[in-house]
Symmetry: C2
Subunit: 369 residues, 2 copies
């Protein structure tokens, strides 16, 4: 699939916080919108990803989009049947990626002529849902066959199911949860504070100066070291520690330098403030916000819900999703839980799509009464 990036513009979007800002958001589509406009699947991306969920831009691309295993002709999210849309999140972390269009702290505030920095309104998954809804409306789409996503993308999918229960038929969340687990919130909090601790952060106004590279590196490494099972790091960063490392107070071992290279490569396109904002959106995500209880929020859901977890995932432990599905069923909802095993831990939701593609295909194909 050869894909072209498109851009959606709103002259003004009013955030949950009440602040109004013009928003640009890149998006991609796969497949064809049918005449009834009822074959639409919205795919929501994870923390560090972009709207490039499938296909390639040119024949020379090194790799296809991040969920290409699931999206394409004949695949679980079958582009012969469905029209699939994926949008760059607000404050997408890959600010420096020329294929990403997003609005966030690094964007220039037209009122001041300078980047917003910390003046940019914080976003939540609810804001992402609202902008996605406006994008869909601009395409003439008012109903969704499904909303699907892994990790933060799954949180956005579940937020859709609670915020607009009558607009979607299926909601599929992979390696995700209705509320971010406390332990993961603390890891994200570390990332936020690492960026803020870097003297180059300067209260978020580092644009045009040296960027908070070390804080961002720590923030990105924090997520990377939670993403896989312990054995992964043993295999990837092996090797003996050099004798001189033991004899120095400051020297770094080769396995640390190796990790630095991995993280430097991963964070090369990232803006630190966008990372910080996305951390906050993830760490505070809770579909029950504003409701008296989680049950009260889940009671609103009308969609068929499928939650898929990896048993080795430490960032979004499987038992939270299992419990959400039990709660949904106790409320009389159609909900299913599926889990699988993979040494890739959390990343299995992106790397091991073959382990759960049939579950997604089956859920998506089911016609609701």
């Amino acid at each position: 699939m050869l894909i072209a990036k498109k851009v959606f513009l709103t002259k003004e979007y009013t955030f949950g916080s009440g602040k109004t800002v013009p928003i640009e958001a890149g998006y991609e589509t796969y497949g064809t919108l049918n005449a009834d406009r009822d074959n639409v699947i919205l795919v929501c991306h994870y923390f560090s990803a972009t709207s490039h969920a499938a296909g390639v831009y040119t024949d020379k691309d090194a790799a296809p989009g991040w969920w290409d295993g699931l999206i394409g002709p004949g695949k679980a999210l079958d582009t012969n049947r469905y029209f699939i849309v994926c949008m760059d999140n607000l404050c997408n972390v890959q600010w420096k990626n020329p294929m990403v269009t997003t609005t966030g702290p690094a964007s220039v505030n037209r009122e001041t002529g300078r980047p917003y920095g910390m003046e940019f309104p914080p976003f939540s998954c609810r804001d992402v849902v609202e902008v996605q809804k406006q994008l869909l409306e601009s395409l003439g789409i008012s109903r969704l066959h499904a909303v699907v996503g892994p990790s933060l993308g799954g949180m956005i999918a579940l937020q859709w199911a609670v915020s607009y229960p009558d607009l979607l038929e299926h909601c599929i969340g992979v390696i995700t949860n209705a509320k971010n687990p406390a332990i993961t919130s603390f890891q994200l909090q570390h990332a936020v504070r690492a960026i803020q601790l870097d003297p180059n952060w300067r209260g978020g106004m580092y644009y045009g100066r040296r960027e908070p590279e070390e804080g961002l590196r720590m923030a990105a490494q924090m997520m990377y070291t939670g993403a896989f099972q312990p054995d992964f790091y043993e295999e990837q960063f092996q090797g003996r520690i050099e004798q001189d490392v033991y004899y120095s107070s400051l020297a770094r071992a080769s396995f640390e330098k190796q990790m630095d290279e991995v993280i430097q490569n991963n964070a090369r396109l990232v803006d630190a403030n966008h990372w910080l904002y996305t951390c906050r959106a993830t760490m505070y995500q809770d579909v029950s916000r504003g409701f008296p209880s989680m049950e009260a929020a889940l009671a609103r859901i009308q969609a068929d819900v499928l939650l898929i977890s990896c048993e080795q995932d430490v960032l979004q432990p499987a038992h939270y999703s299992r419990k959400t599905v039990e709660q949904l069923r106790a409320l009389g909802k159609r909900a299913e839980f599926y889990s699988f095993s993979s040494p890739n831990g959390h990343m299995a939701g992106v790397l091991d799509t073959h382990l759960f593609e049939e579950e997604i295909r089956r859920c998506i194909s089911r016609q609701l009464a």
Copy 2:
């Protein structure tokens, strides 16, 4: 048991790195040394602990030493039978605890009249073993019935078994490993870099000035959030996130403030450089250093080895210890592995001694051929 702290002094100790420094180390003893001086058990303490392993200093102490569940009359480490010694590690993190005596970066270098800072030689578990050995020799002790310890203390115990195979009969490591797992090394590396990133760290020479409180807070929280199972944090730091937190780029939620208080209390007696040095000693620990392979190092061991793990421990995952015991057995050694389940994860090695005290009692009581 009412305990008195004692202090051991060496006029000069030469570190593995070759640097020579006078060392002071606090220690405690429980029970009575017998005439043959062959009833000695050395207990090695974990990362953030001290030599106060058991008993109380006064009747008014709020809590006894950290392994009081195991050490005392009739307990697994029976003070009616054994003479038990525990020493403050080199660079003990609790520099500000008046009951701790240790030498490290915060100590004054007599040659310059200023604290050593990063000029202090880095230590490894091998250095701790050497200083402990000198302390024992000063007490007229040349052989050990057992060396026992949890976490970093267990690493020191295993280092004893490799470094001085003919000096100990039993080696018991709890929630520990012969080599620090890569994933835990990366967590410790985060802690080191968080301290170094704090502008108040000033290359380690912050003494007499503002200390790197935020870096140390991050370093300490990093360890605390790895120490328990995920559910622990869900239960301890519950509560809904305040509405204004969603609407601010910088506000912290009450669960974050609650964690700040816990960490502030935990880190109140800590020197940041001592924490940094102890991180390095832990992250690079590997009993096979200098040997062609782990097998070659383990082949030296003559002691009876017992490794005890908590299945929910993410910092020192059980399967590494299980593998070490398999390797020891393949080498014809006497080695046992025991694991138990606890929601306390890594901390179960300190908090849930009732879950493994019988294993320790049985191992310690066994007479070797």
